[in-house]
Amino acid sequence: MSGPLLEVEGLKVEFDTWDGRVRVLDGVSLSVSPGETLGIVGESGCGKSMTALAVMGLVPKPAGHVTGGAIRYRGEDLVKASDGRMRDLRGNRIAMIFQEPMTSLNPVFTVGDQIAETARLHLGLSPAEARKRAVEMLRAVHIPEAERRVAEYPHQFSGGMRQRVMIAMALACEPEVLIADEPTTALDVTVQAQIFDLLEELRAAEGTAIVLITHDMGATAEMADRVVVMYAGRKVEEGPVDAILGNPAHPYTQGLLACRPNLQLGHAAARPQLHEIPGVVPPLHLLGRGCAFADRCPRAMPRCGEAFPPAYDVGESHAAACWLLEEARAA
């Protein structure tokens, strides 16, 4: 298949709050092709998860609304799709795993039932077939003694094992797109690596397109082919993973990269201080017309507060939205 499998274009999402209507996503565009892993990075509250929920058609109602843009899956606009059509796609063609494996599984059903449910719903399997499928899936995500554990309840699994169950559940119908929303944030570091290995293995085997949402630049470096950097509901930079990590163009991306602890061992005295971006993501209802990052940006200029910059190409399929780039070009 040529062209992207999933394409988000100019997506706008707004929420009704006590302080009035707030724009949570403003013109977000991204795409992912079969077999590709797209990383979406940014601090908490920047709209990464909301983008994922919007793709799933799960923007919390009645407060949230998709007010503009398109989400195209194989050319079909999901923003306009009926609830029934969305249910057909969810968990079937487009699946999602969440940040909190401890609370994302229903405590009163066995893990087998929860995996089988998806298979029965979308693949029309009989209860016995669905159960077999559940065991298969548990094996596929390397859960030992799958036949026995399929009848156990979530509280009998550790956090890492639960995330494996979540992945098994998401993959039960062999989706074309898997959205992983901070899948390892709540897990131990060693378990994180195992989960990433598992995702990588499944992508290689099934050709699943993966959208990996994370704030961990290390995970991004390891997993992603391309990266989208988001800040305060907007995309600020996009490009191939090497370009983003090696040659970040946006001050925010540069800041994010500088925050990574440098793991080169050696003289403690020579070790550079851990960097941090000063300040926090501003409350969305306080956003002005200009660049939302301006308040925290070390290189902010007067015009940054006046208008949001357009995206400038800085390399092959690498673009960033920052006035500095125009200055550089003009110079």
């Binding site: 009704d16 006590w18 009645p62």
Partner: protein, 294 residues
């Protein structure tokens, strides 16, 4: 929506919460209606008997006179010819008095037991937990009835009886709050600077556990009023003091002929408890702003 204190004085955590709670409460129409109703009821109960000095035990006219039929009794007379309006005005006193005092006892017992159990844990909690469970198993109304008949029905025995049987839910709630709060940073901090247990229990944890306790105490007042009304309805209160429950109880056999003598006192109880419930709900919303979904 955090309000600035203005004078720059550091606001304690608890006090800021109260202030914000009031600002939320003030915007809750139902709660304000409840508060206004309570004020009116209190006014009528306290000052009413002076403005309308008819003895509710006096026979003022023909029995079972309809409301409006006799000038002496605007709301009619009961099965003996006693003034229903006089009963309504005078009968609120014992009901409210017993209700508030019993709720106070309930709160005192419940908070003490819950606080000690939740704070000390271990065997203290074990013993107090058993005691609480014991009182939960006792059939509350029957036990109160027995207490009252054994020790002669008077407002005091009724109040004590209600207080003794009704404190368990308050204790459970307080205990849960103490269990939660005793692990928080500021309690540990107080401990680390050597605050005594008594100080931590009553001066540090209690103010922070107060919001849910206040809500519960408000609702307990409503329950105690209903409890008192039930006892007087059964004739298990001081027979020489007119109360709303007693009016219903003594007139209930004449329900068909004199419905007003049963309906009005019941309405009085209903409106009183309703007002208290509205205030309680308002407090609950005010203390838990996150529950106000959308």
């Amino acid at each position: 929506m955090v309000e600035e204190t203005g004078d720059g004085r550091p606001e304690t955590k608890a006090r800021g919460l109260w202030r914000e709670a009031w600002s939320v409460f003030r915007r809750n129409r139902a709660a304000l209606v409840g508060l206004a109703l309570l004020a009116i009821i209190a006014l009528v109960v306290v000052l009413g008997p002076m403005a309308y000095p008819v003895d509710p035990f006096d026979i003022v006219g023909a029995p079972k006179a309809r409301p409006g039929a006799e000038a002496e009794a605007p709301l009619g007379t009961d099965y003996l010819g006693r003034d229903v309006l006089a009963g309504l005005i005078k009968g609120g006193r014992p009901t409210l008095l017993v209700g508030f005092c019993a709720a106070l006892i309930t709160a005192l017992i419940g908070i003490t037991i819950g606080a000690l159990g939740g704070f000390y844990g271990r065997w203290v909690d074990g013993v107090l937990g058993r005691v609480t469970e014991f009182f939960q198993v006792l059939p509350a109304l029957l036990f109160a009835m027995v207490l009252i008949t054994l020790f002669a029905p008077s407002l005091l025995t009724v109040t004590l009886a209600i207080g003794i049987v009704a404190w368990t839910s308050m204790a459970r709630l307080t205990r849960a709050e103490y269990l939660r709060i005793r692990e928080l940073e500021y309690v540990r901090a107080a401990r680390s600077i050597g605050a005594s247990n008594a100080r931590i229990i009553w001066r540090i944890i209690l103010p922070n556990a107060m919001p849910p306790i206040m809500v519960s105490a408000t609702l307990a007042t409503g329950s105690a009023i209903l409890f008192e009304a039930g006892l007087s309805f059964l004739g298990l209160s001081d027979p020489n003091i007119m109360s709303w429950g007693l009016m219903i109880g003594s007139n209930r056999n004449y329900l068909r002929e004199a419905w007003w003598a049963v309906t009005f006192p019941g309405l009085a109880i209903f409106v009183t408890v309703l007002a208290i419930s509205l205030v309680g709900d308002g407090l609950n919303d005010a203390f838990n702003p996150k529950l106000r979904t959308r």
